[in-house]
Symmetry: D2
Subunit: 455 residues, 4 copies
């Protein structure tokens, strides 16, 4: 035997699947989820740094203590970047780990002051807000890139006539470009929602301690000067009364984004069936079968649907979790952290993958267009042309077209002869000319009128 | 037997439950839900009026036709207000009903033109947007009223000392006013979200026909001149690509509002148990038992929790419903209408009822305050005082207080003698004075420092 | 104008849509929901009758009181059947209404005894259990009918060759009958789940009073003798500790049923697109368009998907509602009633409508079958034939077929010449004969082997 | 400074928190989730072994091939147990990993046959079923242990009088034992549901290939002889038509279990507040605060509520995910695996932790009992005693007690004098004796009558 086997699921592909597409479709089979606090290390360092500055400015720590703490935190950040700082699982969480590291390095007499007026509660909250702010901004970039890709392909296919569907059935005509553009609009709305998060929920909790403040003369605004968050809490207890709000809004926004992505995915999946044959997904975004040698599967798109459903569930958990808590922190509220982080890891690659699918797909223009000249797909336009030209009530024109449909064959579609025959049966003193008929049943003309590109 | 029975569930109340509270708690036992389209009648008339204006301005109908249609729609609005226009169940929906009424009144030659370039799809969508805009505005007023009530009671109880809870346990102290204020902040955030809906989702769909436009020279901006909505669709297909977005965001906002209401409700329910006895819910917002003559139940508050859960489910249905639709309208998407309307009927009274509960409850100030002088509730403040006064690391001060707790009895609480003893064990050359001790364990002083009312 | 308009949405149908299908797709546009307790009237009468018997048997009421109460309840049942008993909305609920009616008729000295040892709590619970038992049994019949319809059409299409899909792509072949049968199996599993409800949750709560019993010597088993429910509570408090269990399991079962129905619906919707053209949904189960004269939309099937999503939400509400209640009844738990009733009204017609769709659809056998002779759809069977015949490792046979695919054209499909060429490249001393090749690429033969109808 | 800091959150505990309790409450802060397929390794080996047996019995592989494959799989199992078999992340999944390992060891000529007639689809499904069967059985044991613990404590507290709550208010009396027993009943119901999973969903999918079977003469029943699952699929396609059913039912069962656990948790959390002071959670199941030296928090119980909410979300994702799939496997369905595995990792420890909490908590019998002699808590019993003794209608007795309540003071509770006064006002020729009064207001007697321990 001369040849070797690379991947058990197939050798029939011309282009190998994109690594990211493989990763996206592979889910968590061979990739676990890291501890939540591992991801939060840089945010914990950032928040502790801001807090140390504020402690110094309020004269709770001395200049020398401040210097030592700040330079130690810088060193810690470097160690972490170099992969040399690992969380010790016996030390409960990232907050204990970082503080313990400082105590070990600087001694309790100095490092034992960093927690002055601070609680694990506001630490958890501020790390999470900093993290969410970051990922939300990255996501906005990805969505913008997707919108650009859609806009660019919408332009390219501005005149590619496509059946327009309602109920999965031919309703009238439109263009493939117009359809892509409608998804670009959907993602623009999602982008607006992602942006609104900063206004509605990017609020610094640091300084609220365990949600009831501390007697230390900490200045919440001063702290935030170093954090740079959009707002600061106005009431300490609010940090708990509103616990989970920021996470929930973020996961809601992700759910909306994923639902729009899943709709585009579903449309492309159906368009890429053998039976529709409107488009072909590139090999880069497809996978094969372990048993069927000929298969090319649109896994990247299918997985969009799974990820939408994942977000639904995470959102539901968040809502159920934050229903009816008694005043103040309760340990169950810690789980909001995992929910928002799990959501983000599910969604992270989705816009980028969709951008790739759009940019690499093949569009079978002829197949799409062929359907727009078949059957009665242009009935609405014909009815409207008739009504407008002869000032007929639209309801009467509709009856006439319906009668005409009964007299024509679906294979051949509308026939002018039959149309004029029905008109005569209605005892109307009008007659449609061949020129009129041709114009009202010209797919591109109809699509352009419908899109108000011509009036 | 001389006396008669009024209500089977009890005669022990001094004040009769408020009618609205009864309605709120009664749910749908004796009250069904009206047909969705009954509620939409005024919006259908408004949208049809706007559309008729636009048809005239585009010269699709004549001046005389326009006059007749407009005056007929006015008449219909009056009939409806007088309760004289009922939907005919054999005529499918409000759209067919209104159009049929017009056709019956004006004949098909005139009224048969009103549907020119319009589809049931954009009719459904525009009616729903108009309805949501309305109810959203009403709700904002209700929430503002609730915020005012909370603010006013927060002021009244600015110095009412209350145990501050975490994990349902005494953590430190705060004031009852501060706690109420923290909920006011939560509702302000909800209000901001309710308002953001108009920016994000108040978009006119009228003129998109069945989401692919029509060949009639309809001007979507012209239509909206008469509707006055915030925005207009930018792509016809968007109306379907984003179908359900407006409903889903609204129900999400309601869910957040209800979750905050349910948290306040839960806190008040627990505060009003015999064991806590911190507050008493007014008879106006309580109900009795069919079997226990002495019962006064905080039903109004309990129902808040049910209504939060109802919203969770409606939101879930919306998300599940709008996942992965194929391009264009599909009939299942009609169900978004019922979901948003059901959510609104559940939530409608909630802020008003909460306002009433807040305004009529009795606060047992003494009971609350008594707890703030018991046990070790002021441990955090004592630790912080110690650390600040003697520039001790907070971590060391914490150890000292923990040791002191072991030496004191929970009944009597902290004893200065024991505290100083522990300090000596730590070989620290300091000693806490009675004055210092008294100041650090003064609940009101501690609360005010924590709230930064004094620094 | 000679003709009149019947339905605004179209006159192009040969057969008018089935009334039930119209009702099913119409949702709640023109049909509201009745008050929950209106539906519960017969169950309240049944439960009160059982309770009166038990009171008599325990000698809590006299023979004469018993006689009067029983005959009054019989009379009330008749009045209700004749539509002459209406719930008075000032009397809180069905329980108060029935008891008040009895008191008015028999006086408080007799009727005032019916509530002895009973609470509204156990009344609500028992009415709901009786109602659920009933609807669950009706639903089981409907599902059985659907299974029969599927079985019968599965037999009819036992040899109708169909492309077998994975990832919406041609994977191999199967028969249309086999596909229908797989849904019959799914519904059989649903039926089993519906049946298991009786075992798991059909438990009489009557006699538990407000979940803590009463001091009346009521015998719970005696009561149930007259109710005929599957089981009786074993601990009074259980009725509240498990409050909502029966409703939640029922709505879960409905969700599973609806998900299976929605999958069948989705498959048929895609099969009935113009592009697939595998089946046609009968006019009886389709609807038209208000604007597109040619449309026939599979609304009945689309609505299945909406109703699945409705159940998801109702289930979520139930779970959120019944999370973490404090011991004993709380008013929010009343909402479980509306959730189960709303679920049932959504689902009620679904199996019947699906039965109708299946029984009336047209199957375009030739279109289906044509696809099974195109392209490389039989690659798996060819690979397996090769491997089995020559005792090749399946992994090697897969490589050979993949290479062959690269050498052949998708239009013409596999060519024996190319296959043998690849085999030679692999230096294997074998050769496939025309007869072997034909047998391995015969769709019906392959399907039958795969289904183990031939071995 | 002489002492060192062990845990930042506190040194005030007498007993250190149980390791498992710490793990339970810690969530995923420092502990990630392993790759899903790592957990599935033993099940993949088991399924491959069964399949190899079946291949040999059908003479698809030779005796010698069979021997080699089986002994290799045994070796692999040993390597895995010894921690020496790691999944290679470049090899897609556990199925590819195991097959590749076999190919590497035995060569493609032998190991290349193991996949004959098998697909990744049925491999994924069978591994998951084997895994679920296992964990479901383990869970049943844990729940049984919890039930035993509750039963044992219920016996111990059979006479510990407790206020009986409805609406969080004193309704009547019961015993602490009876309350615990009611949760035991709830868990018995959950156990029954866990068991029903095996009947309803433990179905072998192996042999269905990619859900359309293969032309290999594989015998599904023969395979299952080696797997020992409850049932075998009856239609190949069913494996996909019902894809996710087993996972969804399992997560539903977990949701029900967690909801019951969360209710018990909530009740114990409230009982352990300072204000109730009915019970104390052992230090072993509590945690401290990073800032409040005195805190002991019932984290173990709070986390039960989070985990209930997590299950709600996972269930919703499963339902949303499995709504309306097109016939056959689609990649999104792979995500059902992560959902069921995530649910199980959340729930796994919950029953054990609750068992521990129950077994170690301290019950403050006196505090509970004191409340049962205060106020009007025994009004129902008094009313019932009055009604039974004098054969009064319960409704009349209720009025009398309500009037009596108005005349008495809540501090002193019912007074016989006032009761008889009201009776006289009602012109009834009866009078309650001191003995009767005492008996009707004896908490233990009342509780026992209510529980039918005495009649």
């Amino acid at each position: 035997m001369k040849k070797t086997i690379n991947k058990l699921w197939g050798t029939a592909f011309k282009i190998q699947p994109k690594e990211q597409a493989v990763l996206f479709a592979a889910g968590r089979d061979l990739r676990g989820l890291p501890p939540a606090d591992e991801i939060l290390i840089p945010y914990e360092i950032k928040a502790s740094t801001a807090y140390a500055h504020a402690l110094y400015e309020q004269q709770i720590i001395t200049e020398s203590e401040h210097k030592k703490i700040i330079s130690s935190l810088k060193q810690l950040a470097q160690l972490h970047e170099q992969g040399k700082f690992k969380l010790d699982p016996t030390k409960e969480d990232v907050h204990s780990n970082v503080e313990s590291w400082l105590i070990k390095k600087l001694g309790i007499d100095i490092a034992g002051k960093i927690h002055s007026g601070r609680s694990r509660s506001d630490q958890v909250s501020v790390d999470l807000i900093l993290y969410m702010k970051d990922v939300n901004e990255v996501l906005q970039n990805e969505v913008e890139t997707l919108i650009k890709a859609l806009n660019s392909h919408a332009k390219k296919h501005a005149d590619t006539i496509l059946p327009a569907y309602t109920h999965h059935q031919h309703a009238t005509v439109t263009t493939f470009g117009n359809m892509l553009d409608s998804y670009a609009v959907a993602f623009k709305k999602d982008l607006q929602k992602l942006k609104s998060w900063h206004e509605l929920e990017e609020i610094s909790p640091l300084g609220s301690a365990a949600a009831y403040g501390s007697t230390y003369p900490i200045d919440k605004n001063n702290i935030n000067k170093h954090l740079g968050l959009n707002q600061v809490f106005s009431n300490e207890i609010q940090v708990m009364t509103c616990k989970g709000d920021a996470e929930t809004l973020m996961v809601f926004n992700l759910s909306m984004l994923m639902n729009h992505l899943s709709s585009l995915a579903q449309t492309l999946i159906i368009f890429s069936t053998k039976e529709f044959n409107f488009i072909q997904i590139s090999d880069e975004y497809s996978t094969g079968s372990s048993i069927m040698p000929q298969k090319k599967n649109p896994d990247s798109l299918e997985v969009m649907k799974a990820k939408a459903s994942m977000c639904h569930g995470y959102l539901m958990s968040l809502l159920s979790l934050t229903k009816a808590p008694f005043i103040g922190y309760n340990r169950d509220q810690q789980w909001t952290k995992y929910l928002v982080m799990d959501s983000i890891q599910e969604v992270a690659l989705a816009p980028k993958i969709m951008t790739g699918v759009i940019e690499t797909m093949t569009v079978n223009q002829k197949v799409m267009t062929d359907w727009t000249t078949k059957g009665f797909i242009l009935a609405q336009a014909l009815m409207e042309g008739l009504a407008m030209e002869f000032q007929l009530p639209m309801r009467l024109a509709k009856l006439i077209i319906e009668e005409t449909i009964k007299k024509c064959d679906e294979q051949t579609g509308f026939q002018l002869l039959q149309l004029n025959k029905v008109i005569r049966e209605y005892q109307l003193a009008i007659s449609v000319s061949q020129e009129q008929f041709d114009s009202w049943t010209n797919p591109l003309l109809v699509a352009q009128k419908q899109m108000k590109k011509i009036l």
